[in-house]
């Protein structure tokens, strides 16, 4: 499913609000943002928004205005997600490309490290499908 403009706007605005309120209390969270940068949200459990935001990052990397591009993972408490946040925050993105078999999208950083991202789902005890984001740091 492709998000509408309104859905993408509202979901990103909610993540931005959460992060900016966090920044007010923790100004060190500003340090990884390059002056004048493009910031793109990286949600923890919203595969649709993840896909839309990766497409946005790809467009900015290829046809942008030369400003640095950074993706900032959602502020959450999970230990594994925290490790992911620490790896990715403060790194300048130079490209976003699908990998060879189309399983992952690769975020390519200026320091030549990469993150492979994909959306998955698991079924909880109530039989409900729960989306989550899977990644590999390289």
């Amino acid at each position: 499913m492709t998000l509408t403009r309104e859905e993408m706007f509202q979901r990103n605005l909610a993540l931005t609000k959460k992060r900016l309120l966090h920044v007010l209390r923790n100004p060190s969270a500003l340090q990884p943002i390059f002056p004048g940068a493009h910031v793109i949200n990286l949600p923890q459990d919203d595969p649709e928004l993840l896909g839309a935001n990766l497409a946005l990052a790809m467009e900015l990397a290829r046809r942008g205005d030369g400003r640095p591009i950074v993706m900032i993972p959602e502020v959450t408490e999970g230990e594994r997600w925290r490790e992911f946040r620490e790896f990715i925050v403060g790194k300048r993105i130079v490209d976003v490309i699908p990998d060879e078999d189309g399983t992952y999208l690769d975020l390519i950083f200026e320091d030549e490290t990469q993150v492979k991202l994909r959306a998955l789902a698991w079924t909880n005890e109530e039989g409900e499908e729960q989306p989550f984001i899977d990644w590999i740091l390289t």
């Binding site: 403009r5 309104e6 706007f9 605005l13 920044v23 007010l24 002056p35 910031v39 949200n41 946005l56």
Partner: protein
């Protein structure tokens, strides 16, 4: 830490320009929260929230360069930020449509 500005990308046609001033203990000023939309291939600022002139206020920006200014009372920065983002959440389409209508006149 000083002043820092950046762009929060919301969609391919919508973004927020943000500027905060921070010291060691925390953010001390919201320099700017500005909603911008891409209209006919150009990024246009439609509504701006800032603390210039010594008070927190909203400026609705018009195509002819004039502004509608409204003071917004607040008790702390979190409330000011929340008010600005809640207004943008509710009014962003109105701001864009109003700008486009004024542009056509």
């Amino acid at each position: 830490m000083g002043r820092k500005d950046w762009i929060e990308n919301l969609t391919h046609q919508d973004r927020l320009r943000v500027e905060f001033t921070a010291r060691k203990g925390g953010v001390i000023e919201i320099g700017l929260i500005q909603y911008e939309a891409e209209i006919e291939g150009q990024w246009k600022p439609l509504v701006r929230y800032d603390m210039a002139h010594g008070f927190f206020h909203r400026d609705i920006l018009k195509p002819d360069g004039t502004q509608e200014k409204l003071e917004i009372p607040y008790t702390d920065l979190a409330e000011a930020l929340t008010t600005a983002l809640e207004e943008i959440h509710c009014q962003w389409e109105f701001y864009r449509q109003a700008y486009e209508e004024r542009r056509r006149k």
